[in-house]
């Protein structure tokens, strides 16, 4: 990998980040109801008080200066105060991060494993009914709203069959005897949300894996392996699959936006105490600083993941040279 490629990728990521910051800064200032007008609802307020309040909040300074101050505070980790929680936004988000990571990680592992498996089956049995069935499954899950799948799962598995708890991450009001007890309880709560999220993203993975494997299978070195007399199973499992898996890495990063959208819906439906549910609550409470903070952090993660995927892909596939 050459340094020019690296530099260009860094530059592109920085620009995307800058656009996010601009959206975040200016959009939230265009909206009606700034802090000054909220304070100035007091009937005894006079113009000099208005000026005083404005200078107190720095609203009398030019927009660019305000933007610079905003950036400086962000770098220091000051994302403002949540209207609803009356705590620093960064702390509120931090307390919810773990739950989202657990959910996303579990779903991602299930989805990658199943995606590679299904894609392999579809490619090997190309044109057969199994292939068509896997395609059909991918199409239907693509067309399905994530939250709806969650609702149907809750109604069927939790309410109708009573197999899983419906709400939250742990059973509330219970003191766990030990770590093992707590883990079992977490697993029970995690299972259905993770499966919902995995089902929604697995279709895409399997389609990518299928077409990537078909690509690889038509390459010369596969013919060579066959000519050497290797069994079909060995050719596919040892020669084709390792290379065909490569695009999945980029897809995971590119799909991150999709994953986040899915997690947001799944968390909302299952009351999973993560960032997604937090965003839903912030929307309901019209907690703008919190909303802004979540959007910024989530965007930052996505940009970082895309950057990492670019670098990793350039590293794993030596043919990539820009």
């Amino acid at each position: 990998m050459n340094s020019e490629y690296l530099l260009r990728k860094i530059f592109h990521s920085a620009i995307t980040l800058f656009i996010v910051l601009i959206i975040n800064y200016f959009l939230f200032r265009i909206m009606p109801g700034d802090p000054v007008s909220m304070i100035m609802r007091n009937p005894n307020a006079n113009p000099s008080m208005l000026a005083q309040v404005k200078s107190l909040y720095g609203f009398d300074k030019p927009q660019l200066v305000q933007f610079a101050v905003y950036l400086r505070e962000l770098v220091k980790g000051n994302f403002g105060m949540s209207f609803f929680y009356r705590q620093p936004v960064i702390d509120v988000i931090g307390s919810r991060l773990f739950a989202t990571l657990v959910l996303a990680f579990a779903a991602e592992i299930v989805a990658i494993f199943l995606g590679i498996l299904l894609g392999k089956i579809a490619a090997v049995r190309r044109g057969e009914p199994v292939d068509a069935a896997i395609l059909g499954f991918s199409l239907v899950t693509y067309a399905m709203p994530t939250f709806w799948l969650g609702i149907v799962f809750i109604a069927f598995f939790c309410v109708h069959l009573g197999l899983f708890p419906t709400v939250g991450m742990y059973t509330s009001g219970v003191t766990f005897a030990g770590f093992a007890d707590k883990a079992v309880d977490l697993a029970k709560h995690l299972f259905l949300p993770a499966v919902t999220l995995a089902v929604v993203i697995v279709g895409g993975y399997s389609m990518i894996m299928r077409s990537s494997l078909l690509d690889v299978l038509s390459e010369d070195y596969i013919t060579t392996a066959r000519a050497k007399g290797l069994s079909r199973r060995d050719v596919i499992n040892r020669h084709a699959v390792p290379n065909a898996r490569l695009p999945i890495i980029t897809i995971i990063a590119i799909n991150l936006g999709f994953m986040i959208a899915g997690a947001l819906q799944v968390e909302t439906v299952f009351s999973w105490p993560g960032i997604g549910r937090l965003m839903y609550e912030a929307l309901k409470a019209r907690d703008y600083p919190l909303l802004q903070g979540i959007f910024l952090i989530v965007s930052f993660c996505v940009i970082l993941a895309n950057f990492a995927a670019d670098i990793m892909y350039g590293y794993l596939d030596p043919r990539i040279r820009y």
């Binding site: 656009i19 399905m144 994530t146 609702i151 149907v152 809750i154 991150l256 936006g257 965007s299 996505v302």
Partner: protein, 291 residues
């Protein structure tokens, strides 16, 4: 000359329609869309339903002769709500897609046509919109604009154009070097004229098939935004139905008739758009041959 051109165009169109009817996928897609368009625009004329009429039946009454799909949490007829909701979902989907198509086409063609710094700038913005997590972005925009039908249309439109722009740019790059563009330029045609009259007609077929696919995403987005409480309270849509079903606890009492039908309708409609879009793509885009 004019006649020959018209004849060629006519033949092209005929070929397109024939190819469309040959493909099973496009027929299924077309049938689904026709069904839902009829449901949305003719259905309300034939099926009597008033969205403001609460308590027509009991709360969350299971399906019966009087209410084929049961009633919702306010005792309204679910079937009637479903039929009236179809219109909202379709309108939002189509209008949002139009906005997205216009932005994407203008950005893509200008980017490809002018090249250089304009291209670099526009493509960085496009990349940013491709990378940004779309649902949080939509939610933030919707929260700031306030929830109304038109705001939802705008929010979906301005967040979903990036893919179209990339496509339009790529196609423009391959078209702009062709002779007829050179010819137009040599007789003194302006930039806007060339882009509109020479490049757009050649780029449009691909954009169009892409647009049909964007509609599918737009409808899903409307549903999701409505479900998360950003929808228009005054207009029934499938997303709003699911929102109320969830908020009213229809899920925990197992009132399947309330939340399963809207979901199934959404899946079918999105699949209809996806099928049609893919078949358009296959017919119009020779580079894309299915395996």
């Amino acid at each position: 000359m004019e006649n020959a051109k018209k004849l060629a165009l006519h033949r092209k169109r005929k070929q397109f329609v024939e190819a469309l009817f040959r493909s099973k996928m496009s027929l299924v897609g077309l049938a689904i869309l026709v069904f839902f368009v009829l449901l949305a625009f003719v259905g309300p004329l034939l099926y009597d339903y008033d969205h403001q009429e609460y308590g027509a039946g009991e709360m969350l009454e299971p399906p019966s002769k009087a209410f084929l799909l049961g009633t919702d949490d306010l005792g309204r007829d679910v079937l009637g709500e479903l039929i009236h909701g179809a219109k909202t979902s379709l309108i939002v989907g189509v209008l949002a897609t139009l906005i997205s198509m216009v932005i994407g086409t203008v950005v893509g063609i200008s980017s490809g046509y002018f090249g250089g710094r304009i291209d670099a700038f526009l493509m960085r913005v496009t990349d940013a919109f491709l990378v940004l997590p779309w649902l949080p972005l939509m939610l933030v925009l919707a929260a700031l604009l306030g929830s109304s039908l038109w705001n939802i249309v705008v929010v979906i439109g301005v967040t979903s154009w990036a893919g179209t722009a990339r496509l339009a740019r790529a196609q423009t790059l391959s078209v702009k070097e062709r002779q007829f563009v050179e010819r137009a330029r040599s007789i003194g045609a302006g930039h806007v004229y060339i882009m509109r009259k020479k490049i757009l007609p050649n780029v449009f077929p691909l954009i169009f098939s892409n647009t049909v696919l964007v509609s599918a995403v737009a409808i899903l987005s409307e549903t999701t935004l409505s479900f998360l409480g950003m929808g228009d309270v005054l207009r029934p849509s499938w997303g709003m139905m699911l929102h109320y079903a969830f908020e009213a606890g229809a899920v925990s009492v197992g009132a399947y008739w309330f939340f399963v039908p809207p979901g199934v309708c959404i899946i079918l409609l999105v699949l209809g758009f996806a099928f049609l879009g893919h078949s358009f793509d296959e017919i119009l885009n020779p580079a894309l041959r299915r395996r």
